[in-house]
């Protein structure tokens, strides 16, 4: 009875962790802008810390369950109980949390800010499509957004009806599109490529199909697109 559960538990732990790490490493999550890179490094740091905490806690629990039970145990003394709880349950978690929180404040510090020469894009969420307008160029598009690579873009978000969300996983985290509220997000130094964004806030029956294609291309290609649409170049 003592041997089998420990083997099973160990197997499951290993399988779960291995699949998780393996898939995370296959690179399905590809950050392609400064903001996305920041989030990705935060994720890797947190994942490593979480795996370490997981391994230590499960290891202690396994020892508590399967330790050889001969003679008195170290846990009989109130002082060692207290030290175990204090160090394991409070001091170490507090240090880890403080580190993670500090790191997240640092990342929050460079989400972007208004600067000269940035491209401004207005996105309006509708049930169930995105209206994309470029006030500086006086052009517009539907469900597709063209961006010049390696610049900073400020996206201003408004809703025409219910709550939606703007989220392109490779470029930045999501920001909700809320009726009666104007939100914005920045994308700094996007890499060329075509990315699919999903509406992430449930907005009714068309929610699943509500997607936006984001095409990041060179400044020249972007200018050509603007000219083709009859807009003015900067």
């Amino acid at each position: 009875m003592t041997k089998r559960p420990i083997l099973r538990i160990a197997t499951i732990v290993l399988v779960v962790l291995a699949t998780g790490l393996a898939t995370a490493c296959t690179g399905e999550y590809n950050p392609k802008s400064n903001q996305a890179n920041d989030i990705a490094s935060l994720w890797w740091v947190m994942l490593i810390l979480a795996c370490a905490v997981f391994a230590v806690v499960i290891g202690l629990a396994a020892w508590a369950l399967f330790r050889p039970r001969k003679g008195p145990s170290t846990m009989d003394k109130p002082r060692s109980q207290f030290a175990f709880l204090l160090v394991g349950g409070a001091v170490i978690p507090l240090l880890i949390l403080a580190a993670v929180f500090g790191y997240s404040l640092d990342v929050m510090g460079h989400t972007g800010s208004d600067q000269s020469g940035q491209l401004v894009v207005h996105v309006t969420g509708h049930q169930w499509w995105y209206d994309v307008e470029y006030p500086q160029q006086s052009v517009s598009a539907t469900n597709v957004m063209y961006l010049p690579a390696h610049r900073q873009v400020k996206i201003i978000l408004n809703s025409a009806d219910v709550i939606h969300s703007f989220w392109v996983p490779e470029l930045n985290g999501k920001t909700d599109i809320i009726p009666g509220v104007t939100n914005h997000l920045y994308i700094t130094d996007p890499q060329p490529g075509t990315y699919i964004g999903h509406c992430a806030e449930f907005c009714g029956i068309g929610h699943t199909a509500m997607q936006i294609k984001v095409v990041v291309e060179s400044q020249d290609a972007f200018d050509r697109w603007v000219a083709n649409q009859g807009g003015k170049s900067q």
Binding site: T19, L97, V100
Partner: protein, 625 residues
């Protein structure tokens, strides 16, 4: 001895069958009804989850239509949270166990307790009623405005949801108050507050949380109904309302709600770990303070659910820090449990397996919880499958697994029959592996960019495999639940007799017969330690004078030291709670369907019933000893 028992039986046993069904005020009856009703809702929510999982098993299939899919995930969330998890921990386990663990004969307000169950049953039926009218709520269990408002969700569906929740809120609030009074005033003589079982602490803290959190939900739902039925514009931004107001009100309730489900489960965990380590729990005071501080902190972190709504960064970081602080008391709990297991001698039985499954699963849920409290990372994963994974690790790991453990642990007390051990092990391993398979890959699909609440997805190699594994895991959980049902049926038919205390546990409920007599304890125990059955309460030692036993009477004791101060006369069977709940239910139906005569008739009946209920008793109801 038998003479006293006869008198107790005469005082506490319902006179006839109908009064024992409709009129019962026995906390054990009410608790069992709660448990059975909630388990039926658990199966319903589970079936809805299965349908959603089948739809998502492969990309681009049409097992259900998109509109049905929206109804299904709304139903799954609403039923699982409101009609299963909250009622089973508070109304079910709380009602059955708290008076037994406290060494008393009933809850403080037995008729109110019956009323609370009937309201719960009727509000469940009311929420179900939406199925028969063909308009099922379809905006998620969170019903974000303005999608849930009159403009985007015309029809009765959201009214069933909104009024159903206001109605259900009555039941939960009433039980919360009842538990607080019961726990403070009806403990057995000598059970000072620092000797109270940890499960009772969980229920006490949760009851306070209910009283503070629920008004926010009821207010939100009422304002929504004003908007929908009365033409106001609280949540309509085109007419000066605010859609974020809904989110604030909903999550001021919604975040504590997680802990309302979780803290009683933590009590179950502490109880079972103590029994199956056969040693006194390590860090009793720390476990109590951890529960209290988690409940407090949970009211300060509702913005957790709103990081992506564009609130200013300073506010976000404040709430992020508050959210992270909750992991300190949780960490202390984990280490107290590990220390207890370490100190003790392990009894390898099914309830303990489920608790170990809980430790494993909730640990992962807690770690991802810390991750999503980190604001920039939350921007990335909120409203994706990653959150679906996180919340199921927390709720299935943190609530459902302890509930299974609790069922395996206390069913011998409730029915007098042991559950089968080998079927129990099958049940555990299938469920545990099923949970990991069903929910772990969702972390990955979320990182890959798959949002929540979508009825299908584009075929990509990784997504397809992960979603198929998740569905297989869901089927394993289904098989595990079926095994539980078989195991229960087998135990009722051929189960081994449990005896009073099959697990050699230390708390008072195991001093009663299995199943307990209507009056619970022949003699009210005097408590001198935290685990009375392990120390002095063997056979004859330390028993208080039995109450006279002619009428229903229980001891009232002081709030902290539990010194006896009075004998209270308790009410017997009554049809009033049933009638009161029925009138309120009809009142809600009348308002919902806009049938004026029904509304008026129900209101008049309600007044009459409550009038009869509160009519002063002819004689004094308190006798001092």
């Amino acid at each position: 001895m038998t003479f006293a028992a006869d008198r107790l039986t005469r005082a506490w046993t319902p006179p006839n069958f109908i009064s024992s069904v409709i009129g019962s005020v026995d906390h054990k009856q009410i608790g069992l009804r709660y448990i059975v009703t909630a388990l039926i809702f658990f199966c319903e929510a589970g079936m809805a989850g299965m349908v959603a999982r089948i739809q998502l098993s492969r990309p681009g299939i049409d097992f259900v239509s998109p509109s049905h899919y929206d109804e299904i995930f709304t139903f799954h969330g609403t039923v699982a949270i409101f009609l299963f998890a909250t009622p089973i921990v508070l109304g079910g386990f709380g009602n059955y166990l708290v008076p037994l663990m406290l060494g008393t004969r009933d809850m403080a307000f037995p008729r109110l307790n019956a009323f609370s169950y009937w309201i719960y049953l009727f509000s469940g039926i009311l929420l179900y009623g939406s199925f028969f009218t063909g308009s099922t709520p379809d905006t998620g269990w969170f019903a974000y405005a303005p999608l849930s408002g009159p403009q985007y969700s015309p029809g009765l569906n959201l009214d069933f949801w909104g009024l159903g929740l206001v109605f259900l809120g009555i039941s939960t609030t009433v039980s919360g108050g009842n538990f607080i009074v019961t726990i403070f005033r009806l403990r057995a003589p000598g059970m000072s507050i620092n000797r109270m079982p940890l499960f009772v602490w969980g229920i006490l803290v949760t009851s306070f949380a209910v009283l503070f959190a629920l008004p926010s939900l009821s207010l939100a739902a009422l304002l929504l109904e004003f908007d929908r039925l009365g033409g106001t514009s609280f949540f309509d931004p085109t007419r000066g309302g605010s859609v974020l107001l809904w989110q604030h009100l909903f999550w001021v309730f919604g975040h504590p709600e997680v802990y309302i489900m979780f803290l009683p489960a933590v009590g179950i965990v502490s109880t079972i770990i103590t029994t199956f380590s056969q040693t006194r729990v390590v860090g009793y005071l720390i476990l109590v303070l951890a529960s209290v501080s988690i409940a407090f902190l949970s009211f300060g972190v509702w913005v957790h659910h709103m990081f992506a709504t564009g609130l200013p960064p300073v506010a976000l970081n404040f709430f992020a820090a508050a959210g992270m602080v909750i992991s300190i008391p949780s960490g202390l709990q984990f280490f107290a449990w590990i220390a207890t297991l370490w100190k003790g001698n392990i009894l390898w039985r099914t309830p303990l397996l489920f608790i170990l499954g809980f430790v494993f699963t909730l640990l992962i849920g807690g770690l991802t919880g810390v991750m999503v409290s980190v604001v920039p990372f939350d921007f990335q994963v909120t409203d994706t499958q990653f959150i679906v994974a996180h919340l199921h690790y927390v709720l299935v790991g943190g609530v459902v697994m302890p509930l299974f453990a609790g069922l395996y642990y206390w069913i011998p007390k409730m029915t007098g029959k042991m559950m089968g051990e080998s079927l129990g092990k099958w049940n555990f391993w299938l469920f545990f592996i099923g949970v990991q398979l069903a929910f772990f890959p969702m972390h990955i699909t979320g990182m890959m960019g798959m949002p929540r609440r979508v009825y299908t997805y584009m075929s990509t190699p990784g997504l397809d495999t992960m979603n198929m594994i998740e569905t297989v895991g869901a089927f394993m959980q289904l098989v595990a639940v079926l095994i539980f049902i078989v195991n229960f049926a087998k135990s009722m038919l051929f189960g081994e007799e449990a005896g009073n205390n099959p697990w050699n546990a230390g708390t008072l409920e195991w001093a009663t017969q299995s199943p307990p007599e209507d009056y619970n304890f022949r003699k009210i125990p005097i408590v001198r330690s935290r685990d009375p059955l392990w120390t002095e309460l063997e056979e004859s030692a330390a028993i208080a004078e039995p109450t006279a036993g002619v009428e229903r009477e229980i001891y009232q004791t002081t709030a902290l030291a539990a010194k006896p101060e009075a004998l209270i006369r308790m009410p017997g069977e009554s049809y009033l709670p049933f009638l009161a709940a029925l009138s309120i239910a009809l009142l809600f139906v009348g308002v919902l369907l806009g049938v004026l005569p029904l509304t008026i008739a129900a209101a008049v009946c309600g007044f009459a019933v409550f009038g009869a209920w509160f009519w002063p008793e002819p004689e004094a109801s308190e006798v001092t000893p």
